[in-house]
Symmetry: C2
Subunit: 208 residues, 2 copies
Amino acid sequence: MGSDGAEPGSVRPGGRTARVRTAVLRAAGDALAERGFAHLDLADIARRAEVGKTTVYRRWGTATGLVADLLADMAEQSLPRTETGSLLGDLRANARLVQRTLADPRQGALFKAVIAAATCEAKTAEALHHFYDVRVTEWAPCVQQAIDRGEVPEGTDTHEVIRAVSAPLYYRLLTSGGPLDEDAADQAAAAAATAAAAGAYLRGKELG
Amino acid sequence: MGSDGAEPGSVRPGGRTARVRTAVLRAAGDALAERGFAHLDLADIARRAEVGKTTVYRRWGTATGLVADLLADMAEQSLPRTETGSLLGDLRANARLVQRTLADPRQGALFKAVIAAATCEAKTAEALHHFYDVRVTEWAPCVQQAIDRGEVPEGTDTHEVIRAVSAPLYYRLLTSGGPLDEDAADQAAAAAATAAAAGAYLRGKELG
DNA sequence: CGATTAATGAAACTGGAGTTCCGTTATGGG
DNA sequence: CCCATAACGGAACTCCAGTTTCATTAATCG
């Protein structure tokens, strides 16, 4: 009569359970990149991961649930940030990192797929938001340094500046379909740096 | 033997055929907004449209095919553009229009859903790109006017400036989940106007 | 190391998404 | 107005994504 206990995989998370999760998440990433979110098939993922499909359904339940876990895993793998000494240089480094990621066939397709999945389920959306929170928080300090150097006005929302760099690149990826080349990255970085220096990202209120 | 002829609905596009298309596209929009792309069910759409499900499968085939047609229909319904006399004013009007659309529960959900669908099928992606091309082309003249007035340097990519206004709003909608309020719209407009005036969107090459 | 039981996985099962068949409706041309 | 047939729609059918069952394997605790 007691409760059903916790989620499968939480009581004995070591050994096989961990290996299964790794294999399934890897297979899920491959399948998402190759086939897209709409054509995702959990049985196919189980086959790729050399795991019983029952296991995949039991532990993750739905395609969006699996993507949510994949996003949680992706959020943990952080890339080191480079520092160049100027805001424009730092933003450009960030823009080119994002651009290279989205322009890469596998990674670009993967990001499209996880974003598509996030539009279909609140829990997956939350996982996606967390993933970007982590990435943005990693880069925000370079804007703070620019504030300290006097390049950017006090009171600027540092996170918003970082998001402003990525936004046009994601817009191209998803809606315009324009080329995601280095020029696009540099343009995004330059626009964000210029706007930030002019105080366009001051916290709390917009420019008059 | 001879060819199979054209797509169903192309030989006798009037009367019932047109009514069916209208009813199905309306039902598809409702279903996408309410349930999201992943939970889309063509039989359910047929029921809502009071149409045989055979008809929906025959004419549109797949969920992504139906969304592609919906996007073609949406591209034809254009909204009038307001003019304020200044670039910032015009961009702000555009930004608030986009913001209000995305913040609206039904429209916001619908846009998320069509973007999700577009990530899954090349034809649907093309339809989405065309939709945004139409919208951007409608607003680009206000940037040209700013160039003519001397507010923005010659050689600026007018379409890119318009896209720069929308990009941060779509970024919030899809990845950050931050509030889509008027301040967000005004900030996007101000940042784009500032960057455009500084020559960040010059065609062909980025700033040094 | 051995007992307990969480977690896995093969196989059989089920429901509904998508298809096929064919009779009915009504469009567009003459 | 009438005919040929494009397009629709109900019903029966198929097939596979997702579920259930239960035996097997191996993670954790003592």
